[in-house]
C-alpha cells in the first residue's frame, strides 16, 4: 500500500514538473516591455492593524512611486489598531499635505472589511491593496499598468521578495518565493493564477466591485478574489519585472502560523468552489490549478510521513532500539556491515525516479533564479537547506492543517 502511495506521489510530481517545463518551453517567460500611454488614476489601499512600526516605510515607498502624484490616491484604513498606527499616519498626512492621503478609521473588522471599505470610496480606475509591512519598488506602477491591455485583464501581479533575509528561515522563504513566482508566471500563460497576494496586486476596480469585493470572512481573501476573477472568465497576469519587498516570518513557529492559515484557507476556499474542479468549462484552471492545492497536500504529507517518517525516522529509531540491546557497542557489526555491503543493495528504482525529479527540479530552480535576476551561486547554501528542510516544513504544516480540520479548529484570521 505504502509503495503504491509513494509511486503515485512520484508519478504526479514528475508529471507536473514535465508539464510546467513544456509550457515554459512553448511560451517562454519574457514579456515584451510595454510603455504606458496615459496615466490612469490609481487607488492604493493600505489596510493596517497595529502596524505603527512598519507603516511609515510602506507609505513613504508609495509616495516615492514614479507616477504622476495627482493620479495616486492613498487610502490608509486603520482597522481598529490598539497602537499608534492612527497617530503615525496622521503625522505623515501633515508632513505631505500636497499628497492625496486619506485616513479611514474603522472598528476592528478584519482585512477584507478594511479593503472593502476603501474599495467603496476609491476614485481610481485601478485598486491596489498593499500590506502595511511591504515596500513597493519605484517603477511598479509603470511596469504593471501597461499589462491591462484588454478590458479582460482583471488583475496584474508583481513579484514578491523577502525584505530582510536575516535568518535561515527567511532565506529559505526567499528561495521559495523565487520558485513560486516563476511557477505563477508559467501558469499565467494558461491564465491559471489562483491567488492575487496582498502586496500590490493591481485590480481593475470596476470588475472586483462588480464581483462583490473581498470576502470579509475568509482566511485567504486574496485567494478567494483570484478564484472569483477566474470563475468570471477574466484574466490575471503575473509579471516578474518589478518586485514588492515584504516581511517574512523569522522563525518556524511564525512560519507555521502563517502557512497554517494560508493552506487551511486555500483548502476551505477551493472546497467552497468545488463545482469548478475538473469542470471543462473552466479549462486548465479547473482541471489543473484548482486540484493543485489538494495535490500539494497529498504530495507533502506523503513525502513527510512515508518518506521521512516511514523510510528514515522509523528505521532509525528501530535501529537505535536494536543497538541498545548491545549497549551501542556497534563496532563489530559495522565492520561486518561494510564487509558485506554491495552496490546491489541500493534500491535503484526509487533512486532513479527521485534523481530524475531532482534534476528537473534543479533545472526549474536555476531558471527561476535566472529570470528573477539572481545568481544561483549567491544562494548555494540556502538552496541546499531549501531542498532538505523545506519539504519537511511544508509536510509539518500540511499535517497540522489536516489535523486541525479533522478536529474542527479554524482560526478567524
Amino acid at each position: 500500500m505504502i509503495k503504491i502511495i509513494i509511486f503515485i506521489a512520484y508519478f504526479i510530481s514528475l508529471y507536473l514538473v514535465i508539464f510546467w517545463l513544456l509550457v515554459l518551453l512553448e511560451k517562454g517567460i519574457k514579456t515584451k516591455p510595454k510603455k504606458l500611454k496615459n496615466f490612469p488614476m490609481v487607488t492604493i489601499c493600505v489596510p493596517a492593524y497595529n502596524e505603527e512600526k512598519t507603516i511609515v516605510e510602506t507609505i513613504l515607498s508609495i509616495l516615492k512611486l514614479d507616477y504622476p502624484h495627482e493620479k495616486v490616491e492613498l487610502l490608509v484604513v486603520n482597522d481598529g489598531s490598539k497602537d499608534h498606527t492612527q497617530e503615525v499616519t496622521t503625522n505623515l498626512i501633515k508632513e505631505y499635505p500636497h499628497r492625496n492621503i486619506i485616513l479611514i478609521n474603522q472598528q476592528n473588522k478584519g482585512k477584507g472589511a478594511a479593503m472593502n471599505n476603501a474599495l467603496n470610496i476609491a476614485k481610481g480606475d485601478f485598486f491596489i491593496p498593499l500590506d502595511a509591512d511591504s515596500i513597493v519598488e519605484k517603477n511598479a506602477l509603470k511596469v504593471l499598468l501597461p499589462h491591462f491591455h484588454t478590458p479582460n485583464v482583471a488583475a496584474v501581479l508583481p513579484m514578491i521578495r523577502i525584505q530582510h533575509k536575516s535568518t535561515l528561515m527567511r532565506k529559505i522563504q526567499h528561495c521559495e518565493y523565487l520558485i513560486n513566482f516563476f511557477y505563477k508566471k508559467i501558469m499565467s500563460h494558461l491564465n491559471c493564477v489562483h491567488v492575487t497576494p496582498g502586496p500590490f496586486s493591481v485590480y481593475r476596480k470596476d470588475i472586483i466591485k462588480k464581483l462583490g469585493g473581498f470576502d470579509e470572512h475568509n482566511l485567504v481573501e486574496d485567494l478567494e478574489m483570484a478564484v472569483k476573477i477566474q470563475k468570471a472568465n477574466f484574466e490575471i497576469i503575473q509579471v516578474l519585472e518589478t518586485s514588492i519587498l515584504t516581511k517574512a516570518p523569522g522563525n518556524f513557529l511564525q512560519f507555521y502560523r502563517q502557512r497554517n492559515r494560508w493552506y487551511k484557507g486555500s483548502l476551505l476556499t477551493i472546497f467552497s468552489y468545488r463545482k469548478m474542479i475538473f469542470n471543462k468549462q473552466y479549462g486548465d484552471f479547473g482541471v489543473l490549478q484548482l486540484p493543485m492545492v489538494f495535490i500539494s497536500a497529498f504530495i507533502s504529507i506523503t513525502l513527510f510521513f512515508i518518506l521521512i517518517f516511514w523510510r528514515v525516522l522509523k528505521p532509525l529509531i528501530n535501529q537505535l532500539s536494536d543497538w541498545s540491546y548491545i549497549q551501542f557497542d556497534i563496532g563489530p557489526l559495522l565492520s561486518k556491515g561494510f564487509k558485506d555491503y554491495s552496490l546491489l543493495n541500493l534500491n535503484l528504482v526509487p533512486m532513479f525516479y527521485g534523481i530524475t525529479i531532482m534534476i528537473l527540479a534543479v533545472v526549474f530552480l536555476v531558471l527561476a533564479h535566472h529570470h528573477a535576476g539572481e545568481r544561483i551561486r549567491d544562494n548555494k547554501k540556502t538552496i541546499l537547506f531549501y531542498i532538505i528542510i523545506y519539504p519537511l516544513m511544508i509536510g509539518i504544516v500540511w499535517t497540522g492543517v489536516i489535523f486541525d480540520l479533522l478536529r474542527g479548529k479554524i482560526q478567524k484570521w
Binding site: I18, N191, A232, N233, D284, K336, Y353
Partner: protein, 232 residues
C-alpha cells in the same frame, strides 16, 4: 454577475505529451528495476552454486571424519563450515532485503535454496559434533520479517555475539514464515516453537527475546574452554 470573455480551454496536447514523457521515464525506471533484479539474481545464483560445491565438499569431509576423526581435520572442517555458513547468512540477509524492496515472488526460489542450505549445514554441524570434540556452540535462530518487533533486537544480539565469538559460535537462521519449504515447519514442530523470535541452543529451546547478558551466560555454559567474553 459580470462576465469576462477569456476563452478557456484544456491544453489536451500538452497534458498528453506530459503524460507520454512521464510514462517514458517510468518505463525506463521499470527497465532499471528489471535489470537490477536480474543482476541480483545472477549474483545470488553464483553464490548458491559455490555453496553447493562447498556443501558437497563438506559432506565428503564429514564422511571421511566418520572413518578417521582427528582433531586436525576437525578444525579444517569447522573453518570451512564457518566460512560457508557466513556466506549463506550474508546472501540470505540480502535476499530478505531484496524481498522487502520488491516482491516475494522474484526471489522465492533463491530464498528456498538458501533456507535449505542453512538446514543442511545445521544437520551437518550436528553430525560432526558427535565425531569431533570441536569447541563451538550452535544456535538455530527462527525469525520473521513480518510483524516481529523483537526480531531486530534478537538478530542484532546474535550478530554481535557471532562477531565476538567468531568460529566458536555458529548461528543457523531460518525465516519461520517461509512456508514454501516444509523443512521449516518440521523443525518448528520438532522443537515445539510457537513464538517468534525463538532460539535453540544445543537442543534447548528459548521462545522469547533473550538479552545479551543472558545469552552470553547460556552460550558460555556449553564451552569447556571459556572464551574471553565468558570470562569478563
Amino acid at each position: 454577475m459580470v462576465k469576462g470573455n477569456y476563452e478557456r480551454k484544456i491544453s489536451i496536447k500538452r497534458f498528453s505529451l506530459a503524460l507520454i514523457l512521464t510514462c517514458f521515464v517510468f518505463l525506463v525506471g521499470l527497465l532499471v528495476g528489471n535489470t537490477l533484479t536480474n543482476q541480483r539474481t545472477g549474483y545470488l545464483e553464483e553464490i548458491a552454486y559455490k555453496q553447493k560445491l562447498d556443501y558437497e565438499s563438506l559432506q565428503l569431509q564429514s564422511l571421511y571424519l566418520d572413518l578417521s576423526a582427528s582433531n586436525a581435520s576437525c578444525s579444517i572442517f569447522n573453518q570451512i563450515l564457518e566460512t560457508s555458513l557466513n556466506d549463506v547468512g550474508t546472501a540470505q540477509a540480502k535476499i530478505d532485503l531484496y524481498i522487502k524492496e520488491t516482491s516475494k515472488d522474484s526471489y522465492s526460489e533463491l530464498k528456498r535454496e538458501y533456507t535449505l542450505a542453512q538446514v543442511r549445514y545445521w544437520l551437518l554441524n550436528k553430525r560432526i559434533k558427535q565425531a569431533c570434540t570441536g569447541e563451538h556452540v550452535s544456535i538455530l535462530y527462527l525469525y520473521s520479517n513480518d510483524d516481529c518487533v523483537e526480531c531486530g533486537a534478537q538478530g542484532t544480539i546474535l550478530s554481535y555475539l557471532k562477531e565476538k565469538l567468531q568460529d566458536k559460535l555458529f548461528v543457523f537462521s531460518l525465516d519461520s514464515d517461509f512456508d514454501q519449504e516444509p523443512m521449516v515447519s518440521i523443525l518448528r514442530q520438532t522443537y515445539n516453537i510457537t513464538k517468534i523470535p525463538s532460539i535453540v541452543i544445543e537442543d534447548q529451546v528459548f521462545d522469547k527475546l533473550i538479552g545479551k547478558a543472558d545469552l552470553i551466560k547460556e552460550i558460555c555454559s556449553h564451552y569447556s574452554e571459556k572464551p574471553e567474553i565468558c570470562v569478563n
